[in-house]
């Protein structure tokens, strides 16, 4: 929102103060100022002058040769404006002057000397109108500096609208002026108002509020015989400087009052709307708003109607039909307070956000409606003295906010601030901001002013903000807390992530990546990966990014694909979130998962596949001090997994993940010559597994014995975990280790060599005494189908 210091100065005398410094202070105490623009400083040497004579330019149809009367004599000027005429009073920029930073000098235009420029409003920077010269209609002595006639000099500052979200009272200059008055310790002046009680004997306006929950208050008043069409220049300059544009007097006045007091107003052409009903319609219909658009009106939309005929979308925009037109000379003025939530819903539904709806959304003060009406009339009657009020001010106050009273004491303020703000300072601040304060010693009974009581200030803590922001945060003494020490708890869900990342980066040289929580339909399609049916984002940027990911892997595969040129061999991982459909209670079944994907042109697929096994095993051992169990998964969950080479990862009998090589259809789409493998670990399931106590075994003084068994791998495959379990079960107390030392692929079939280590803490074992145990192991393995290699 753009604000004018001239306008603010209507309500508070800031003379003698550094205005830019004040604006900066405002930024630190009230709302963020994004920009400060000094207007008019680069415009000087422009005077009021009269065009004494106009001659056609001999060489140009567009240009004219003028003699301009500056009050001190005639000056030659070449002018191209279409509306130039003899006797016209204009703004004349003299040679040596400047308009909006454009230096004016003596020039030769199409062969003729020119000693200045007659200006349009656009050239003067006071409107967008560049259709012709600005005509000065007031009686002003020639030679007068234009800046002493019009308020070209101003300081405009822009406040971030977002920082005003909670302050309905700051959506007009008057409310902003109250902040400046408080900050500058000066008093706030009430603008000129009309005493509307004088019209009490006139006929009332017929106003009906059919929806009191959606409309707090509706004030209507009629006026006619309005002859002035164009707003005064200074009013137009303010509107323009503040980002609006002048239209006609009545429209300008409603805008002006809105920008001054924050109260949106609407002027209906009295010929089109002379009674008011605030209501909704059951049947949807189309309504043309004054921007010429057809709007779909549904049963929730609050409308302003003349009887059954809608004339405006309440609080959002008027209708084209009842708009003020060139020949309008009578109006019905609306100054109403609608429910902010209702307006917000309508505005969102229509996709139409206006200056009015933006203000109503913030929950405006219903008291403002009367103030604004009286202000509007004061301006109208001062500008058009012939205008006549022809109705009483009709005020339907359907719903009121309750007065909010809060009691605070200095101790409460001290506790919240941690510093000592004096009771006098507290009282002074609250009073300056318009709060009613009854002080008894250090206790303050505070009445919240109506303009802060619609939602903004409701509890004691809200008063703390008022007191501290005016006190100034820069003036705070800073102190540390007195909180007692407490142990820091860090949870497995957190530490496991860190440890796993460290292992993957340090031991396996993997690269951590981040990816989106939704599937990328385009990238998946490229790899032949079907998107799993899953929960969707309803307002995704594109339908291609709507479905949430079920697994970490497909996106990692797309990353492998995109990084093929990065290196011959590399691996990536991510700990991220997946959503696996909905739980019974209808909420998303969210999981934190570790995804890993490996790529290599130098190693084979089996090596990568087994590396994943090693990674998961090491994760389990390092963090849990437990072994992970691996088994072939003959029915892989996803179509991008290899139907044969997929394995499940279990710890303590619980499945916590899988690893796999890609289905050939997917792998070949990435790189026909490269090996790829990937895996996934459910981090939450993993972190729920208890960490085994690390046991210390006194090292034996006696040597151990290694005994190797070569076992045939049948076509069904050998599940090493089961072999190891059997060996451990039969091996007795002295068996200390079981592991694979060799895998042999030969023409006579495949075999695997398992090494068992036996060791006693009390004596040296002999092979002979172990033989019965070995025999028993071999026998049991044979029963399980694992024969010794011949």
């Amino acid at each position: 929102m753009l604000l004018s210091m001239n306008w603010i100065s209507d309500f508070v005398d800031l003379s003698g103060l550094d205005k830019v410094a004040l604006i900066r202070r405002f930024s630190l105490s009230t709302a963020e100022v994004e920009d400060i623009i000094v207007k008019g400083a680069d415009t000087y040497g422009v005077i009021v002058a009269r065009i004494a004579s106009v001659e056609n330019h001999p060489n140009s149809r567009k240009l004219h040769l003028l003699k301009v009367d500056t009050g001190k004599g005639l000056v030659d000027c070449v002018c191209g404006a279409p509306n130039v005429r003899e006797g016209m009073t204009v703004a004349f920029a003299q040679a040596g002057g400047s308009v909006c930073g454009n230096a004016i000098g003596e020039a030769t235009v199409a062969g003729y000397k020119s000693f200045g420029m007659c200006c349009s409003e656009a050239e003067l920077g006071i409107s967008a109108d560049h259709s012709g010269l600005m005509e000065i209609t007031e009686e002003i002595p020639l030679g007068t500096d234009i800046k002493s006639v019009y308020d070209i000099d101003d300081i405009i500052f822009e406040v971030d609208n977002k920082s005003l979200t909670n302050r309905p009272d700051l959506w007009g200059h008057y409310g902003i002026a109250r902040e400046f008055a408080t900050l500058a310790d000066r008093s706030l002046k009430t603008p000129p108002l009309v005493d509307t009680d004088a019209y009490n004997d006139l006929p009332a306006v017929d106003i009906t509020i059919a929806e009191p929950m959606l409309c707090y208050r509706y004030i209507g008043i009629k006026a006619d015989n309005i002859k002035v069409k164009v707003s005064p220049v200074n009013m137009r300059i303010r509107l323009y400087y503040c980002g609006s544009r002048a239209i006609n007097l009545l429209a300008d006045l409603t805008n002006y009052v809105m920008m001054e007091l924050g109260q949106p107003m609407h002027a209906f052409d009295l010929r089109r709307a002379d009674t008011i009903t605030v209501r909704r319609f059951e049947t949807p219909f189309s309504f043309k708003t004054l921007d010429g658009q057809d709007r779909a009106i549904d049963g929730n939309t609050l409308m302003i109607c003349k009887g059954d005929t809608p004339v405006a979308v309440a609080g959002v925009m008027g209708g084209l039909e009842s708009e003020i037109e060139d020949d309008t000379d009578s109006l019905l003025l609306e100054s109403a307070c609608f429910d902010g939530v209702g307006i917000r819903k309508t505005s969102t539904r229509l996709g139409l956000r206006t200056d009015a709806s933006m203000r109503y959304e913030k929950m405006l003060d219903p008291e403002l409606t009367l103030f604004a009406t009286r202000r509007f009339l004061s301006l109208l009657l001062s500008i058009d003295s012939g205008a006549r009020v022809i109705s009483s001010l009709t005020d339907v106050y359907a719903r009121r906010y309750e007065t909010i009273k809060l009691t605070i004491d200095k101790a409460y303020v001290d506790r919240y601030t941690g510093i000592d703000i004096s009771a006098d300072q507290i009282e002074k601040t609250l009073v300056a901001l318009g709060f009613g304060v009854v002080r008894t010693g250090d206790v303050f009974d505070v009445t919240v002013p109506s303009w802060r009581a619609t939602k903004d200030v409701t509890i004691k803590a809200d008063l703390i903000e008022e007191i501290t922001r005016i006190y100034g945060y820069d003036n705070f003494a800073v102190n540390t807390t007195k909180s007692p020490l407490a142990p820091i708890r860090r949870e497995r869900t957190n530490t496991d992530d860190d440890r796993i990342k460290d292992m993957l980066v340090a031991s396996y040289a993997l690269h951590e990546v981040h990816s989106y929580i939704w599937c990328d339909a385009v990238k998946y399609k490229e790899l032949g990966i079907e998107i799993e049916k899953n929960v969707k984002v309803i307002n995704a940027q594109t339908p291609d990014h709507a479905t949430l990911r079920y697994s970490m892997v497909p996106t990692l595969l797309s990353f492998l694909n995109e990084n093929r040129a990065y290196a011959d061999s590399f691996g990536i991982f991510e700990i991220g979130r997946t959503v696996n459909g909905l739980k019974d209670d209808g909420t998303c079944d969210e999981h934190k998962r570790l995804g890993i994907a490996l790529f290599s042109r130098t190693e084979d697929e089996e090596t990568l596949y087994l590396r994943l096994r090693d990674i998961f095993d090491r994760i389990a051992r390092n963090i849990l001090h437990k072994n992970a169990d691996f088994a072939v998964d003959s029915a892989p969950r996803y179509n991008w997994q290899h139907p044969v080479n997929t394995a499940s990862v279990s710890i303590d009998g619980k499945c916590v993940g899988f690893f796999s090589v890609p289905h050939p259809a997917v792998g070949s789409k990435i790189d026909k010559k490269a090996a790829i493998a990937f895996g996934e670990l459910d981090m939450e399931a993993f972190s729920r597994i208890e960490i085994a106590t690390q046991k210390y075994v006194e090292p034996s003084k006696f040597p151990g014995i290694d005994i190797d068994l070569s076992l045939r791998m049948d076509t069904d495959g050998l599940v090493f975990g089961r072999v190891a379990d059997t060996i451990r079960a039969e091996g007795g107390e002295t068996l200390t280790d079981v592991y694979v030392v060799d895998v042999y692929h030969g023409e006579d079939g495949d075999s695997v060599t398992v090494r068992m280590t036996f060791q006693s803490g009390e004596r040296t074992l002999s092979k002979a005494e172990l033989q019965p145990t070995i025999d028993k192991i071999v026998e049991t393995l044979a029963k399980d189908g694992y024969a010794l290699k011949a």
Binding site: I419, H511, C588
Partner: protein, 342 residues
């Protein structure tokens, strides 16, 4: 005898100079000093001498023995040194300047920044909390004092899911959960991924990281908040940072602040990065709104607290000079593999 000794001496010296390594030297030692060595033989030959002769010869032989022993030791030492020198002389010269490409892994820059922050906060007694990404309306809005249709919901474009849940728009969505989990007093940080429905460009991402912190205890004040933010940010930026607060509106704080830090580029003098103001807007913070405490099961009459949010993705961009925010989620290893450690 004298003659014998002289002659023996001569042979020893010839042998000594001929010994080229320790083995030969050892053989020499045995030949002269061994049980059956020549000097022992000399001693044996003394039996035939007169007592005076024995005395004289004994002295001579002893002197000889000492000389021989000393010579062998000295020679042994010299040979050892020679061998070492030779080993060094003949050693292969390694070139330490030759690089070898080794596989190194890398961390995502967000992980590195998050760890740094977790370190700082752990040092100040904060727990580090993990939180989900899919939340419900209650967690993201209602419990944060943002009722339905509150204009504050305007500030964030929320990704809504088919089942009525949503992707969390702010880490604050974890506040309620954490307050209920621990109660007061409480010190926690919760880094997390957030989602906003907006078009992406070099400065905007729909998926980014924030880190939120909360401290709740008896008598936590605005003064404490300023102190804490200054200390914490000075740690983060590893220099003495000045902070200033401005009013900021967040429904879940009262009062709420926008916190600016003295510009890290120009030190506060004014530069293009800070639009010549000397200040950079860094993080929202504030005293936790009493309604938020109540929703979290904490009595606002007994406890007060502050909360703050840090844009972790933005911090990472500042720290590493990343210009395009989209690099973070690109999976592009040319960009991401550069972050090997903190």
């Amino acid at each position: 005898m004298k003659q014998k000794i002289e002659e023996l001496k001569g042979r020893f010296e010839a042998g000594l100079s001929a010994a080229r390594d320790e083995a030969e030297l050892d053989a020499l030692r045995v030949a002269f000093l061994g049980k059956k060595g020549e000097i022992t033989d000399l001693l044996k030959g003394m039996r035939d001498l007169t007592p005076e002769g024995k005395k004289e010869a004994g002295q001579l032989i002893n002197t000889l023995k000492n000389e021989v022993e000393a010579s062998i030791t000295a020679r042994a030492e010299a040979l050892k040194n020679e061998a070492l020198e030779r080993a060094i002389r003949e050693a292969k010269h390694y070139n330490p300047t030759l690089p070898k490409k080794t596989d190194r892994g890398s961390y995502h820059p967000i992980t590195l920044v998050a760890r740094r922050l977790a370190d700082i906060f752990s040092g100040m007694g904060f727990t580090v909390e993990d939180f989900v990404e899919v939340v419900d309306d209650y967690q993201c809005f209602e419990a944060l004092n943002i009722p339905k249709y509150h204009p504050a919901r305007d500030m964030q474009d929320t990704y809504y899911l088919e089942n009525g849940q949503l992707l969390k728009t702010q880490t604050s969505a974890a506040q309620n959960h954490i307050m209920k989990k621990y109660g007061a007093p409480l010190r926690a940080i919760f880094p997390g991924r957030c989602f906003r429905n907006e078009a992406t460009d070099a400065c905007h991402e729909n998926t980014f990281f924030q880190m939120e912190g909360m401290m709740i205890d008896k008598d936590i004040s605005i003064s404490n908040l300023i102190y804490f933010m200054k200390k914490m940010l000075s740690e983060v930026f590893e220099s003495d940072i000045n902070v200033r607060l401005r009013p900021g509106y967040f429904p879940f704080t009262e009062p709420g602040f926008e916190l600016d830090i003295s510009c890290t580029i120009c030190g506060g003098k004014g530069c293009p990065s800070c639009k010549n103001s000397g200040w950079l807007e860094l993080c929202p913070c504030g005293m936790i709104h009493p309604n938020v405490l109540i929703a979290g099961g904490i009595d606002p009459d007994e406890y007060t607290g502050f909360a703050f949010g840090l844009g972790m993705t933005r911090l990472a961009m500042m720290k590493y000079g990343v210009k395009d925010i989209r690099d973070f989620n690109s999976g592009n290893l040319k960009a991401l593999s550069q972050f090997e450690s903190l």
